[in-house]
Amino acid sequence: MLKLMDLEVRRRNFTVSVDRLELDGSSVLLGRNGSGKSTLLRCIAGFIKPSKGKIIIDGVDVTDTPPALRVIGYMPQEQVKLPLKTSKALEYFAKKFNVDPSTILKESGLDYILEKEALSVGENQIMNVAIILMRRPKLLLLDEPTSNFDFINKIAFCRFLKKLSIPMVYVTHDPLEASLIADRIYLMENGLVKKSCTNLLKEKAEKMLEEFNLYRLLDSVADFPFQRV
C-alpha cells in the first residue's frame, strides 16, 4: 500500500532516513519525542519534500505530488477545530465530495453528532476522521491524534479507528496506544526505523484497557479491585 524507498528527509541538524519500508494495514510509528516520526509522516503527507528517495502510495509515485492530490487523509497533532458548526461542516464536505454524509456517519457510529452544537475533543476528532473518510482516501495518516485527550476519549477514538478498514499510519509515543491499534509496529529512534514487529498484544491491550479503566470500574464495580470507602 505505502512504500518508502531510500527516503531521506533533511531538517535543521536532523535527518530522517528510511532504506526500504512497505506499510499496510494499521501501521504504528512508535518513538519518543524527537525521534523523527512526525517528520516522516509530514513527508508522506507531502508537506515536506524529501531530499532523496521515493514515496509510493497504492502503486503510484507521489514523491513530487502536492498533498491535495495524494488522495490521503492527514490528521495533525494539534486539534483541528473547523470554523463551521458540526452540521454545516459535514454538509460542506459532503457536498464537496459528493457523498451522503449519513452513510459515513452511520458507519462511524456518529449519527448522533448532527444534533449536537458543541462536540467534545474526542467527538470533534472523530468527526474530522469522518470528514476525511468522505473523500475515500487511499491512506490515513494520523499524527498523535489523541495527544490531548482524556482516557475515555482516547479509548473511544482508538476503538473507532480499529473499526475502520482503511490502511493507516499512526504516529504515537504511547506503547499502549500502539498495541491497541497496530497490526505492525515500527520503532523509530534518531530518525531511523530501528525495528519492526507484528503486534501480538492487541487483545491483551484491550483487556488492559478494561482492567485500568478506573472511570468505569469505580462507577460500576463494588469491591474489585477497589474497596469502597
Partner: protein
C-alpha cells in the same frame, strides 16, 4: 505595589495623549470654521471605500501566501513603502501618473490610496493568518481543497481580524496627505483641504477641523478596539 503604580501611570499616560493633542487647540485665539468641509469629507470617504474594496482582496491573497505558503520573503517587497515619506511615494508615482494623464484626478487618488493601504493590509492580515493554527491548513490541504477554498475556511476562523484589517486600511486611506500633495490636489480630500485652509486662513481657520478629525479618529480607534476585542482564533 510597584506594578499598580506603573499601571496607574499607564492609564494617566493613555488619557493624557488625546487630551494633550485635542485640547490646546481650543486656546488658540480667533478660531473659526472655514466653509465647505463636506465635499472633501465625502470625497475622502468615497475614495477610501473604493480603494479599500479594491485593495483588500489583493492584501488578503498576498497575506495568505506570505503566511501559509512559505512566501514570507515577499513581504518586504510589498511593505517597503511604509518606511519612506509619503511625499517621496508621491514623487515615485508622479512620472507614471503624468504619463497616464491621472494628475489631479480620482484615479490618482484611488491608486495612491491602494498603494499606501496595501502594505498595512498585508502586514495586519499576515499576522492574523499566522494566528490561525497550522493544523487547520494541514488538515484541509490533503482533503483536496483548493487554495481559495482554504482561504475561505481561514476567513471564517478570523472574522474580527478581517473587519479590523479592512477598517485599518480604510483609515489609512482616509488619513493620507503626503502622496496627494504631489499627485492629486483635486478632487479635494480632507488632508489637502486642511492643508489649503491652513495656507489661506492660517491656524485659526483650520484648527477646529483638526480637532474634529482628531475626535473622528478617536471614535474609529474605539471602534477598532471593540471589534478586535471580539477577535477569537480557534
Amino acid at each position: 505595589m510597584k506594578t499598580s503604580v506603573l499601571k496607574t501611570a499607564v492609564v494617566i499616560a493613555a488619557f493624557s495623549y488625546p487630551l494633550i493633542l485635542l485640547t490646546p487647540g481650543f486656546l488658540y485665539p480667533g478660531l473659526y470654521l472655514a466653509p465647505d468641509p463636506i465635499t472633501p469629507l465625502v470625497n475622502t470617504v468615497v475614495f477610501s471605500s473604493i480603494a479599500t474594496v479594491m485593495a483588500f482582496p489583493a492584501a488578503l491573497i498576498l497575506a495568505f501566501y506570505a503566511s501559509k505558503r512559505g512566501l514570507a520573503w515577499i513581504t518586504p517587497l510589498l511593505t517597503f513603502s511604509t518606511a519612506i515619506p509619503h511625499t517621496a511615494l508621491g514623487l515615485l508615482l508622479l512620472p507614471l501618473f503624468t504619463r497616464l494623464g491621472f494628475i489631479d484626478t480620482a484615479p490618482a487618488i484611488i491608486i495612491s490610496m491602494i498603494v499606501v493601504s496595501l502594505p498595512i493590509g498585508i502586514g495586519v492580515l499576515t499576522s492574523t493568518f499566522s494566528s490561525v493554527q497550522r493544523s487547520l491548513d494541514d488538515f484541509l490541504q490533503p482533503l483536496g481543497l483548493s487554495d481559495p477554498q482554504i482561504i475561505w475556511m481561514h476567513l471564517r476562523a478570523i472574522p474580527s481580524g478581517i473587519v479590523v484589517s479592512s477598517l485599518l486600511m480604510w483609515l489609512r486611506n482616509f488619513s493620507e496627505l503626503g502622496v496627494f500633495l504631489i499627485v492629486a490636489n483635486r478632487p479635494q480630500t480632507v488632508g489637502i483641504y486642511l492643508f489649503s485652509i491652513f495656507n489661506q486662513g492660517g491656524a485659526a481657520a483650520s484648527i477646529l477641523y483638526a480637532i474634529l478629525f482628531g475626535l473622528i479618529g478617536l471614535a474609529f480607534s474605539f471602534l477598532l478596539y471593540l471589534v478586535s476585542r471580539g477577535t477569537r482564533v480557534d
